[in-house]
Amino acid sequence: MQSIILQAKAIHKQFHDPVTVDVLKNITFSINAGEFVSVIGKSGCGKSTLLYILSTMDTDYSGELLIDSQPMRNKTEAELAHVRNAKIGFVFQFHYLLYEFSALKNVMLPGLKLGQYSEKEVEHRAIERMKKLGIDKLAFKQANQLSGGEKQRVAIARAMINDPAIIMGDEPTGNLDKRNSEMVFDIFKQLTTEFKQTMLVVTHDVEFAQKSKRIIEMEDGRIIRQ
């Protein structure tokens, strides 16, 4: 039996500035546990907007969103923050590490926030994940001393720290060269196959998308193929 991790029902979003535009129209789909899903589409088709709604950071939409069978409507800001903390891991285009901290501390922060494990255990788990990604040697380097590919791998380790239900990526390879892109893809692939990690990646890199298991293609705020 396959459980549904993420379910979007008739999601609709409008931008009102300067004129009212429908950005997302009637988006309905679901993601099963262990799936590796890519969302592709041209610039401005609304795929990033959709990702921010699915990630609970954007709450200005109509329709229903369920993560792990829990409805996200009518949750307070703090509750949504907790959902992001516990259930969602993020990998962004521009790495978005906190430069004030070491690589290890960056990975640890969401784990410390969740507070499920003691600081020692969180550190142990962080090192474990960094080892898996081959970056355990960088653990005590400051985040701003890392290269682009290294930063992205640290970001992936951070996304994994709380064993999230789903990892979301917003153009995770968009800012990387071919070699690093491939490496990031390989990591994602490994996560789905080895650890049954559910992945949702927004990208315009068709090559990257084609290698994933399932592709959702968007155009003008609609899903045209899935």
Binding site: S48, Y52, S55, M57, D58, E77, A78, A81, H82, R84, N85, A86, F90, F92, Q93, F94, Y96, L97, L98, Y99, E100, F101, K105, L109, P110, L112, K113, L114, G115, R158, N162, D170
Partner: protein, 419 residues
């Protein structure tokens, strides 16, 4: 609740912007330092000026005032009861200025647990003969020991030994200004006429300087016995009883009680010296106002620096929020930053303020009017340190509140997309 995690994030953000943080903290340090120093110095001066008068003033003074009879003869006449009286025929009688039954009164007073001590005094108006000119003056007959113990008499005797006035017969301590006028030095004799015109010769054994020129021009001190001889009265003649209390604030009520109990007039220190209280209060208010203004300016500094920091840290805030920190957590981080600046800056300010006060305390300050003061007076009351510290924390708290609220409202989507 503020967790260790929040504190550690705040610390990292602070250390990453160490120079800005220092500037903000130095602002607080400077204002706290000035606040503490200003108040300490101002109140030191206040204490000194108040001491000039208050130290030497009895908390309660008992005396017999010269005044007309309260019940005029006409009021006793039955025929004119309930009429308006405008005839006041019975005038004041000055024949008895002494306090009646002094022995019993002093015994009662010394048994009162609220009383620290009392000093008897005789107030004798005299004329000092200076060639063919007569200078009006006052001889205060005092019990030197009581006077020294309660009213710091010794501090004001700048030349000569105050005890001599008791041990040397027919001796006198002159106000310095009066002595200068009479052209006498210690060991010389002055000639004094009492109000009946009798002449006495007294030996000068010391000078005193009260700090108030007007007082020094007319006052002199002699022992009780000498003064009683000059005014030609017996040895139980006392015109004033100066009482010092353990608690100054009881004076007005006790003065009234004593007045009724001992059937004499009384005056309390608050009534006699109301203007000094007012002066001190005004000076205190001014220094508080300046100190608080400094702190508020420092508060704006912190506000600016935090605002700038939040502007720079937008991405970090966005990433914290994206990875599961709520707006409340972010607000706490920035509140911790603000209050830490206040805490560190405040503590440093207290220390610097103490050092600066100490420096001022050691600056020589010699003035002939104030014989007991050798350096600038400073008050080290912990009150000012506590007030300023509490105020530093309050200011930084409010200075941090609005930037922190702004940080908590940062929309991560806008930041992450906007890249």
């Amino acid at each position: 609740m503020i967790s260790r995690l929040i504190v550690s994030i705040a610390r990292s953000l602070l250390l990453a912007r160490l120079r800005q943080t220092m500037v903000a903290a130095v602002g607080v340090t400077f204002s706290i330092m000035m606040f503490v120093t200003l108040l300490g110095f101002m109140n030191g001066l206040n204490d000194m000026l108040d001491g000039l008068i208050l130290n030497r003033t009895a908390h309660i003074r008992l005396f017999n005032d010269i005044k007309p009879k309260e019940k005029q003869a006409i009021e006793k006449a039955k025929d004119y009861k309930n009429r308006s009286h405008f005839i006041h025929s019975v005038k004041s009688s000055g024949s008895r200025r002494e306090i009646y039954n002094v022995g019993a009164i002093t015994k009662a007073i010394s048994r009162d647990p609220r009383v620290l001590g009392y000093a008897p005094k005789i107030n004798a108006p005299v004329f000092f003969n200076d060639g063919n000119i007569e200078i009006t003056g006052v001889i205060n007959g005092i019990d030197v020991e009581a006077e020294a113990r309660l009213f710091f008499f010794k501090d004001y005797v700048t030349k000569g030994n105050p005890m001599d006035v008791k041990t040397v017969a027919n001796s006198i301590i002159l106000g310095k200004a009066l002595a200068d006028k009479l052209l006498v030095d210690i060991g010389d004799r002055v000639y004094v006429n009492n109000s009946q015109g009798e002449r006495f010769s007294l030996k000068v054994v010391g000078f005193f300087e009260s700090g108030l020129m007007e007082l020094d021009k007319v006052n002199s001190y002699a022992s009780l016995a000498t003064t009683q001889k000059i005014v030609g009265k017996s040895n139980n003649y006392i015109t004033d009883l100066q009482i010092k209390l353990k608690d100054l604030n009881l004076a007005p009520a006790m003065a009234k009680d004593y007045s009724k109990l001992f059937e004499c007039d009384s005056e309390d220190i608050q009534t006699a010296n109301a203007q000094f209280e007012t002066g001190s209060n005004v000076r205190s208010i001014i220094s508080y106002a300046v100190g608080i203004t400094l702190l508020i300016v420092a508060g704006f500094g912190i506000y600016n620096i935090l605002n700038m920091m939040i502007f720079e840290k937008m991405e970090s805030i966005a990433i914290l929020k994206a990875t599961g920190f709520s707006g409340k957590d972010v607000r706490k981080v920035f509140m911790v930053i603000a209050v830490s600046i206040g805490l560190i800056g405040g503590l440093a300010g207290e220390v610097m303020g103490f050092l600066l006060s100490n420096l001022i305390d050691n600056i020589p300050f010699n003035t002939p009017a104030l014989p007991t003061i050798k350096t600038f007076p400073v008050n080290y009351s912990p009150k000012y340190y506590i007030i300023s510290f509490v105020f530093a924390l309050l200011t930084t708290y409010f200075a941090g509140y609005f930037p922190a609220r702004k940080a908590s409202r940062v929309d991560p989507v806008v930041i992450i997309r906007g890249k």
